[in-house]
């Protein structure tokens, strides 16, 4: 029995080691995120002649653990544009709320008379997001995402562009983030090498192409899964399906893989 009341209930340093007081962090330097925690993997998208198709699977990973299996990483904005988020899920949720409040505020100054013509379009949204992302990276407090913005831009032309945690932006007829940039983008580019080819592409072909990419990603990306969301954005609006299953998988190719695990040759 210890007779010193101030020691009661406290772990002894000679047993447990000294307490690391830095965990209190009531003052001291501001801490910013230095890595993503719960993450989503690739987002893939392609422009076709009258719109854009975009897809992402429904998995949020915690490191290598498949932690959340019902996470919608495609988000609609103003029922006109779709954002596909790769990277940190909590930062995605923050951005979702930020954009929601933006949309509410924009709505105050638009009237029903112009039937949504003055709403922010995908082009406006991408520009806004790129400024948010660049500001945050410049503050050394990045939002750990790579985002694809899909929708219709000026004169209802298909619009597809990306922005990442550094604020880097680019646009292309086909885009893919994360692992998809390595695995899906070559497949997409084979079918849609340039802007002219995307103007020839039908919606059915575009959807088929994206589904094929999701399958390849599921075969090879260990942080992916077979449940995914897919959205088609065209003049008739946003058609978002959030509960798709990969079909017609064939794992026959796995037999042929040599050089990993127990099979060394």
């Amino acid at each position: 029995m210890n007779h010193l009341p101030q020691a009661w209930g406290r772990p002894r340093d000679d047993v447990y080691g000294a307490y690391d007081a830095s965990h209190f962090q009531m003052s001291g330097p501001t801490q910013h995120s230095s890595r993503p925690i719960v993450t989503g993997t690739s987002v893939v998208a392609v422009k076709f002649k009258d719109g854009v198709v975009i897809a992402a699977d429904n998995l949020a990973s915690y490191g290598s653990l498949a932690r959340f299996t019902d996470v919608k990483r495609l988000r609609t904005f103003n029922s006109k544009s779709v954002l596909g988020f790769g990277g940190d899920v909590s930062d995605m949720q923050y951005l979702d709320r930020l954009l929601n409040s933006l949309s509410v505020r924009e709505n105050y100054s638009t009237s029903i008379d112009d039937s949504g013509k003055s709403d922010l379009d995908a082009h406006n949204l991408h520009r806004y997001l790129s400024k948010v992302m660049y500001k945050r990276r410049s503050d050394f407090n990045p939002l750990w995402n790579h985002i694809l913005v899909a929708g219709l831009g000026e004169k209802d032309a298909p619009f597809l562009a990306s922005v990442d945690l550094l604020g880097t932006t680019f646009s292309s007829p086909t885009l893919a983030t994360g692992f998809g940039a390595h695995l899906a983008q070559p497949i997409l580019r084979r079918q849609v090498p340039d802007e002219a080819a995307s103007k020839e592409l039908s919606q059915e072909k575009a959807v088929e192409l994206i589904r094929e990419c999701m399958k390849v990603l599921f075969y090879r990306d260990a942080r992916s899964m077979d449940k995914y969301s897919i959205a088609v954005i065209s003049k008739s609006g946003v058609d978002l399906k959030e509960d798709e299953k990969l079909e017609n998988q064939s794992w026959a190719f796995a037999e042929g893989i040599r050089g990993y695990g127990t099979q060394v040759n």
């Binding site: 009531m26 003052s27 932006t169 680019f170 292309s172």
Partner: protein, 265 residues
């Protein structure tokens, strides 16, 4: 209670956590801080000034590592002029390096040049703009814009003017400059072909008596051919250069913009 049991346990006894009041402000050891706010988006630019014109050129490929982000992301920007389309602009800025910084720099310079015209009622001279750009870069000396900038225009005498910069604002007016990934491939070529380095007057003597060929402003057609040759060479030997060639030619008639394909491999 606090006054009754205040103070540390007597010295000599076993140590306890929270020996006195916890002092949370002291950080323990080094914490990981892995966010790096820059990226290299590859690509190359060059500029050559003539007697009454300036040419700037840049490839349109954007890369991350071995991946191609997009085949069309311009690195040349009109500065000033009227409205978002820069009608009547006389200045061109090229930026190569970290594209997000490049965009931010271009947007800032563009607003400054436009504000100058609103406030002074005359367009900004290329010399004034050049010095302002230097100040902007130096203003972020301790968190630099990671870009190599080249500014082109016509000086007050109507001669081609070309200014090149390092990332922190050191600048000089030059006849020609190559920047970016393939600068080390293109610059020696320009030294030889524009400033006639290592070219000597035939039969002017031996050894020290040998006279260098005197550089003079090149005609526009020759310069355009040089630009094409420079990029065809860079594309052949540098993986980050290719896809398309964007060229802007500044003359007293205004800015002429052109696009020509480059090899996509």
């Amino acid at each position: 209670m606090a006054s009754v049991f205040s103070g540390a346990p007597p010295a000599g006894g076993p140590g306890y956590s929270f020996k006195s009041t916890p002092t949370p402000s002291q950080a323990s050891g080094i914490r990981e801080h892995s966010f790096y706010p820059y990226a290299d988006n590859g690509g190359s630019t060059l500029g050559i000034s003539g007697a009454d014109f300036t040419i700037l050129a840049g490839d349109t490929r954007s890369t991350s590592g071995y991946s191609i982000n997009t085949r069309y992301e311009p690195k040349l920007f009109k500065i000033g002029g009227e409205g978002p389309d820069h009608v009547g602009a006389t200045l061109v800025l090229s930026v190569v390096g970290f594209a997000a910084d490049g965009h931010a720099l271009k947007e800032r310079l563009d607003t400054i040049v436009k504000m100058y015209k609103y406030q002074h009622g005359k367009p900004m001279s290329v010399a004034a703009c050049a010095q302002r750009l230097s100040h902007m870069l130096y203003g972020k000396r301790f968190f630099p814009y990671y870009v190599h900038a080249i500014l082109g225009g016509l000086d007050e005498e109507g001669k081609g003017a070309l200014y090149s910069y390092d990332p922190v604002g050191s600048y000089e007016r030059e006849q020609c400059r190559a920047a970016g990934a393939a600068a080390s491939l293109i610059m020696p070529f320009l030294d030889n072909q524009v400033n006639f380095k290592n070219q000597y007057m035939p039969g002017s003597g031996e050894g020290h008596a040998l006279q260098q060929r005197v550089p003079e402003p090149l005609p526009r057609a020759d310069v355009e051919a040089l630009v094409k040759d420079a990029f065809d060479g860079a594309v052949e030997r540098h993986i980050e250069v290719g896809d398309g060639l964007q060229t802007m030619i500044i003359t007293k008639e205004g800015i002429e913009e052109r696009y020509a394909p480059l090899k996509k491999d």
